[in-house]
């Protein structure tokens, strides 16, 4: 009995500890409930939701495993997004002026770039980016460059992935719009661009009653010079195509290397005119059951383009006429289910997958059979322009029903493919050998393109898929009648696909994206030297180093050599007279990571971004007298607001 009495204090102490522990457990931390289960219950999250959150959440400071480069649609830009977190990392200015990067706000190098990007005598303040293409080495992304097309104004932009900036824009004088591109050959020998809506090629103007005679399709092969990081216009060439409307394209790889495959629609050559009682384009261009996939031997075409007398020049562009292409055996057609969207070459290069969006199948063409038919000259017929047409049934490997409105296909590392199904708004997973559907998953809503991790290279990674949905409807808080697009991240590592995350895109309507392993990218942290010109990726001839600041006047030309460093510009006064031509060479003499300055002049529409080491030049006429503050437009330091100066434009009187 005595011993039991001794136990009392222990029992009390134990109880006290238990109460304290229980108290701590139920005690709400700074964020409310402290355990996962009760937070999930409070927020109405299912186990699957929690699992999705755990698969995507990146704690602060943790990098994403993949980087997705997405077109930005009408924004004319490229979006850089981390996967799996779906965090927007950057918006790269490509075709559209963009103030944060100071792209198109006075910097001379951007003025030159945008001047070279003018078309039809117009300054173009927008672009419609559709299809980014990462540079490849041996059929795999190498992380060096990114090419992006502008559908609206047929142009291709070149982005250097050392600093994620646009370095070059080439215009295509012989296209109305483009859509088949940008895509690259396996070693980025060429960046390929195919036109979409045909326009007259050999004559400046022809009405649509001359459609079949004068309108033409076109594919351009831009020669890429990796050393300079530029497309070499003089070494590039084009090929004349029938006036079908060309769509997406892909380059062959492995056994099909050296060839390119282009979709087309409107093989009917409909010319619309609903107001005149004609069928509108939408039905006229969809009348036949089949359109044509174009099969082009680009390697041979490059040799022919280099030969004397085999090309015609139009607006400075060397073009292989259709007749020469037929004669040389470098252009063939094969029927494809109508209104196709994707032409995607399998990772091993043995098959080409096509889906016609008005046909519920994916059609798998065998490269081996195509080659046999070409070698045996086994053609069913020719089109109105004499281009040989291969027999559909004898070159396909199979067809598989995947759903209504199939569009684009990407691949994984296990021999399976993923096709976006527009009308049924889902993604279908199917496998090649044996040919069968494996799984599907609903997406929200109206999926266009999709992208899997390195999914169009010769060695896809699987793991992640992003469905790029055109409509978001009820997925996000309402923001008025113009809704964001919806990128949905899907886990494809298991047998069943799992939806992980919705990312709204509120800057334009993206089309295609490519996903690269993050460790393939090695961008600069700061520019390699103080006084660096990003446009030439070399030391700037206008660099101003600390101590070299000056103001020089020659007649009415005033040159200001300026430096920027935390937290002042030197000089802080720019005194000029009304009508003077002012040239400011400005260098950020910073070397610290992330110490970016801006240089904005009030009311003169000037803003530069000066990243550490960067040198920029701005030139303008001081046409309005007055006092105009200029200031650093990036919050650079504690004394950022004090980093300013005055442009004093003395009236002429």
């Amino acid at each position: 009995m005595r011993s039991k009495r001794y136990l009392w204090p222990f029992a009390l102490a134990t109880a006290a500890v238990a109460v304290a522990v229980a108290g701590l457990g139920s005690c709400a931390g700074p964020g409310g409930s402290a355990d996962i289960g009760s937070v999930a219950r409070e927020r109405g999250l299912t186990d699957a939701d929690v699992l999705a959150a755990v698969k995507t959440y990146q704690p602060t400071g943790r990098f994403d495993e993949y980087i997705m480069f997405s077109s930005g649609g009408h924004s004319g830009q490229v979006l850089v997004i981390g996967i799996p977190s779906m965090r927007l990392l950057k918006v790269i200015a490509a075709f559209t002026p963009e103030p944060w990067q100071g792209f198109g706000y006075g910097a001379e190098e951007h003025k030159e770039l945008l001047a070279s990007a003018r078309m039809a005598g117009h300054d173009l303040a927008w672009g419609d980016t559709h299809h980014p293409a990462l540079s490849e080495t041996d059929g795999d992304y190498d992380g060096g460059f990114l090419f992006i097309n502008d559908k609206a104004n047929p142009r291709i932009g070149v982005i250097d992935l050392r600093d994620f900036e646009t370095k070059q824009i080439v215009t295509n004088p012989n296209m109305g719009t483009n859509h088949g591109g940008a895509f690259v050959t396996p070693n980025t020998e060429y960046v390929i661009e195919a036109a979409q809506y045909s326009i007259p090629l050999w004559t400046d103007y022809a009405d649509t009653d001359r459609y079949e005679q004068d309108y033409r399709g076109l594919v351009t092969l831009w020669k890429f010079d990796r050393a300079s990081g530029r497309l070499d216009e003089s070494a590039s060439f084009s090929m004349e195509l029938p006036p079908y409307w060309h769509d997406l394209s892909d380059a062959g790889k492995g056994p099909s290397a050296g060839w390119a495959f282009l979709n087309s629609f409107n093989a009917e050559m409909a010319t619309g005119g609903v107001e005149d009682g004609n069928p509108p384009f939408e039905s006229g261009a969809s009348a036949n059951d089949m359109d044509y996939m174009h099969i082009i031997n680009w390697e041979r075409a490059a040799e022919i383009a280099a030969q004397r007398g085999k090309t015609r020049t139009r607006n400075g562009q060397r073009i292989i006429p259709m007749s020469v292409a037929v004669e040389e055996g470098i252009l063939f057609l094969v029927p494809e289910p109508k209104s196709p969207h994707g032409a995607d070459v399998t990772p091993d290069g043995r098959f080409i997958v096509v889906s016609g969006k008005l046909d519920p199948h994916v059609t798998i063409y065998s490269w081996e059979k195509i080659q046999q038919a070409i070698n045996n000259r086994d053609f069913a017929e020719t089109d109105p322009y004499g281009i040989p047409i291969l027999d559909f049934a004898s070159v396909i490997d199979g067809q598989l029903e995947v759903g209504l409105g199939p569009l684009h296909t990407q691949f994984d590392n296990a021999g399976c493919a993923y096709t976006s199904i527009f009308l049924e708004t889902k993604v279908t997973k199917w496998c090649l050998e044996p040919l069968a559907v494996a799984d599907d998953i609903g997406v929200h809503y109206n999926v266009g393109h999709l992208a899997t991790a390195e999914g169009d290279t010769k060695s896809p990674d699987g793991k992640y898929l992003v469905a790029m949905n055109k409509w978001s409807l009820d997925r996000f808080n309402p923001v008025g009648p113009l809704l964001p697009q919806n990128f949905q991240l899907i886990d494809i590592s298991g047998d069943e696909m799992q939806l992980l995350y919705d990312m709204p895109i509120g800057v334009g309507e993206p089309h295609y994206a490519q996903i690269i392993k993050a460790d393939k990218l090695e961008p600069f942290k700061v520019y390699p030297q103080v006084g660096y010109a990003p446009h030439t990726m070399a030391a700037s001839p206008n660099a101003v180093l600390g101590g070299q600041e000056s103001v020089q006047r020659r007649g009415n030309q005033v040159t200001v050599n300026m430096t920027a460093i935390r937290s002042h510009f030197t000089p802080e006064y720019i005194r000029v007279r009304e009508g003077d031509r002012v040239r400011i060479n400005i260098t950020s003499i910073e070397q610290a990571h992330d110490a970016t300055h801006g240089f904005g002049i009030a009311k003169y529409n000037i803003n530069l971004s000066l990243e550490p080491g960067e040198s920029q030049t701005v030139e303008f006429v001081a046409d309005t007298p007055g006092v105009f503050p200029f200031y650093c437009t990036e919050f650079c330091s504690a004394l950022h607001l004090e980093m300013m100066g005055y442009l004093l434009v003395e009236p002429r009187s």
Partner: protein
């Protein structure tokens, strides 16, 4: 006293001379290695900012440290401002030659003079470092954007200056020199012990 005199007039044993060769090998890289490291830590510099003080110059993130220092009116740190950098490498070379000579001829007297010279030099250099730290932390320009109380960073250990923790520690060069310096007393102890045990026999 006679013992001490004869000790200094004597020659070093083979073993001590080998130790002197070791000392030369340790001293030589000190001419090129950083002697002292000053690190600045703040939340927006996750990797810290490091300045390495070499016998002949100061390296590392000096540019960035100067940008930061100008806010509090500190003088710019520039290698040319320090006359010491012009002769320190030659001093180290001199100690190296002393050690080499000792190893070759084996005279205790040379070893002793060299060692004392070395220790005095070390002490003076530590004092100089402390002096410069005082100089930079206490001569702040009065018209600086940020006015803070004058301060003297410790030459060993940490000091808080605004949002920065400044830590100052010996670097590889100083550690090696300390090891080379410790060889002196080691030899004395060894030789003393050796002689005495030799005499008793």
């Amino acid at each position: 006293m006679d013992q001490i005199t004869s000790f200094f007039q004597g020659s070093l044993s083979q073993r001590s001379r080998v130790l002197m060769v070791v000392a030369t090998l340790i001293l030589l890289p000190c001419i090129f290695l950083p002697t002292w490291t000053i690190t600045l830590h703040a939340p927006q510099y996750p990797d810290g900012l490091q300045m390495q003080i070499y016998p002949h110059t100061v390296g590392g993130d000096v540019h960035e440290v100067n940008i930061l220092n100008h806010y509090i009116g500190m003088e710019e740190i520039e290698a040319d401002e320090f006359p010491e950098f012009r002769f320190i490498p030659f001093f180290i070379l001199r100690f190296f030659l002393f050690a080499l000579l000792t190893a070759l001829v084996g005279w205790v007297a040379i070893a002793a003079i060299g060692w004392i010279d070395f220790v005095v030099f070390g002490a003076v250099m530590l004092y100089t470092l402390r002096h410069w730290l005082w100089e930079y932390g206490n001569n702040l320009a009065p018209d600086a954007p940020l006015s803070i109380a004058p301060f003297t960073p410790s030459f060993i250990g940490g000091t808080q200056v605004g949002q920065f923790t400044v830590s100052s520690w010996p670097a590889a060069g100083a550690v090696l020199m300390a090891i080379a310096g410790a060889i002196g007393p080691l030899i004395v102890l060894y030789e003393w012990h050796r002689r005495r045990s030799g005499q008793s026999k």
